[in-house]
Symmetry: none
Subunit: 186 residues, 4 copies
DNA sequence: AATGAATGAGCCTTCATTCAT
DNA sequence: AATGAATGAAGGCTCATTCAT
C-alpha cells in the first residue's frame, strides 16, 4: 500500500501545474483536466482532487505569475520619485501580462476562488493604490483616474500589444506604453 | 445586403441575425448554429444554409455595424481641422465598438470571408490611413504611430471600457478616450 | 416565359447523367441529388423531377452500360461454337462490369424500377440462358450450373478483380477469368 | 483479448460487441456508435471509450471470427496431402466468411489498426502462403496464382454466395467452391 | 415546369464531471 | 487516495426529400 505523504501530493500539484503551463503556453488555452491527466500520466480523479474545476486550475496557473507581478510592483515602489515609481510599476506590469498568458485575466477578474490568488490580488491592489495616490499627489499623474482605471487600461494595452504579430512585440509594447503613460500624465 | 432573392429567405436571414445579435449582446459570444436554430424555431439545415459556418455568422453580424463604422469615420473626415477630424474618428469608432459587441474583433481580424465585410474593412483602412497621415502632417499626432497601431489601441481601449461595470460606462469611455488621445498627441 | 419542350427535358436528363457518371467514376459513389444539381447548375427540384430517388439515378446511370452489356452478350451469341460463345460472353461481361462501376450491382439486383433497365435485364437473362444451355448441351460447361449461378460468379470475379490494385488489373482480370472458366468446364 | 482490467468495463465491451454483431448480421452494416449506444442503453461517451472510431468497432467485431479463421486454416495445415490441405483451407475459409458478415472485408483490407487483428492477419497470411506453395510444389494447384489471388478469389466466392437467397446457401456454397477449386487445379 | 429554401432526423465527436472499484 | 470507466448534454455537420414561390 503506497501511503502518500503531503510531499507526494505537493509534488503532484507541481507536476500538474508544470504540464498545464507548458500546454497553455503552446496552445494558448488552459488544457482540460482529462487532457492534463493524460499528459502527466495520472488518473483523472487524481487531477480533480488537486483542481476540482477548470477555474481552479486557471487560478493555480496564475498564482506564480501573480506573485511575480506583486514583486515587480513592490520593487517599483522602492523608487524614490513617485511619478517614476508609478511608471515603472505600469511598465513592469504590462510587460509581465503580455508575457504571461492569462495573467491579465486573473488580475481584472472580480472574484478569486483560490485564497493565494485572493491574497496576492489584495496586496497588488493596495500597492497599486498607494503608488497611484503618491504619483497624483506629486502631480505626475492626472488626478481624475482611479486604481481600477489603471488596471483596466493596462489590460487594454496588453490586448493591443497581443494584436501585433509576435515578432517585434517588444517595440510595440514600448510604444504603446509610451502612449498610455503620456496619456496618464497630469 | 439583400442578396437572397426570395422574400421569405431574406426574412429568415434577418430573424436569424436578430436572434444571434440578442444572444451575442447578452452572453458575449456568438451562439452556436444549433442553438440559434433552436432559438428561432427553424431547422438546423436552414440556419446552415444561411450561415455555413460560425465564422459566416460572425461576419454576418458585423456587416451592419461595420457599415455604420465606415459612416462614422467618413463623417469625421469631413471635418476641416485634421487633428480634430482624427480625434473625432477615434472617439466615434471606439464608442461604436464598445456598443457593438464583436465589431472590434472583426475590425482587427486579419482576413474576412464575406465580401461585404472585406470591402467595408478596405474602405475603413483607407479612410483611417488618410486621417492619420493628415493629422500627423499637421503635427497633431505623434509621427511614430501607424494605422495598425491606432486600430490596436482603439481595440485596447474598447476592452478596457468593457471591464468597467455596465453602469457608468459612458463616463469611463470618455475618460479613457481622453487618455488615449492625449497619449497620441504630438 | 420559357416553355420547355420534350427536347429540353431530354437534354437535361442527358446532362444530369453525364455529370453523375463523371462523379461516379471519380469518387466511386453515386452523387447525392443536391450535389448533382449544384454540379449541373439546376435547381434540386428539377433534378428530382428527372430522378425521383437516389435509386432512380443509379438505374439511370446503369441503362447505357447495360445496353452495352446486352450487345456484348448478343455478339458472343453469334459465335458458332457454343462453348466458345459462352466463354466469350462471360469474358466480355465481367470485363465490362469491372470497367463500369455499379453495373454489376444492377445486374444482380432483384428488381428494377426503371422500365428500360427491366427490359434490358430481361433480354440479358434470356440470352444468357440460351448461351448456357447450348454450352451445356455441347458438354462444354458443367451441367449442374444455372444461369443465376453464372451471374453471381461473374459478379464474384468482378469483386475479386476490384480488390487488386488498379495498376495491372488487366492481367488480374485475365487470370481470374481463366480460373472461373476452367472451373465451369464440364 | 480481455485488455480492460476492470470486470465491468470488460462486460460492457462484450455487450457492445454482441449488440453490434446483431445489428451487423441483421442489416449488413456496422452500426453507428450513437446507434449502438442507444441500442445498449449506454452513454455515447462510453461507447467511444471502447471504440474510438467506426473502424475500431469493425475490427473489434472481426477479432473473434478472425481467430476462428486462423484456427480453421491451421487445422487444414495439419492434413498430410498438400493439395488436400490447401483445398480444405479454402473451403473452411470461404464457409466462415459467408457465415460471418464483415470477416471477408477485414481479411482483404490492407491495414489494421487493432494489434490483435494485425497479428491474426499476419499469421493467416503466413499459413496461407505455406499451404499454397506446398500445393503448388505438389502440382495440385496452378503455379501462376499467388496468395493474394487466393484471398481475392475467396472473397469473390463469398460475395457470389451471398447473392443467393439465404435458403439453400449451403448447396450454393458447395457448388461455387467446386468451381473455384476446379479452376485452381493445375 | 423550374427553382431553391426549408426541414429535421441523425451521425460524429468532445468534454466536464461523477463515482464505482 | 488513486484510478479510470461511465455519463450525457451539447455542438458540429450532412443529406434526402418536400414544398412554397
Amino acid at each position: 500500500m503506497p501511503r502518500p505523504t503531503r510531499a507526494d501530493a505537493h509534488r503532484n500539484r507541481v507536476r500538474l501545474l508544470a504540464a498545464a503551463r507548458t500546454r497553455h503556453r503552446a496552445e494558448g488555452r488552459v488544457p482540460g483536466l482529462n487532457e492534463l491527466a493524460r499528459d502527466v500520466g495520472m488518473g483523472v480523479g487524481t487531477v480533480y482532487r488537486h483542481f476540482p474545476t477548470q477555474r481552479a486550475l486557471e487560478e493555480g496557473l496564475a498564482v506564480e505569475p501573480l506573485l511575480r507581478l506583486v514583486a515587480v510592483v513592490r520593487d517599483a515602489a522602492a523608487v524614490g520619485d513617485p511619478g517614476e515609481a508609478f511608471e515603472r510599476a505600469v511598465r513592469g506590469s504590462v510587460a509581465l501580462q503580455v508575457r504571461e498568458v492569462g495573467l491579465g485575466e486573473v488580475v481584472t477578474a472580480q472574484d478569486a476562488v483560490d485564497p493565494d490568488v485572493a491574497a496576492a490580488k489584495a496586496e497588488l491592489r493596495s500597492l497599486g493604490r498607494a503608488l497611484l495616490e503618491a504619483a497624483q499627489k506629486a502631480e505626475a499623474v492626472r488626478p481624475d483616474v482611479e486604481p481600477a482605471d489603471v488596471e483596466r487600461l493596462a489590460r487594454g494595452v496588453e490586448v493591443a500589444v497581443r494584436l501585433a504579430p509576435e515578432r517585434g512585440r517588444a517595440a510595440v509594447l514600448a510604444a504603446y506604453l509610451e502612449v498610455l503613460l503620456a496619456g496618464l500624465r497630469a
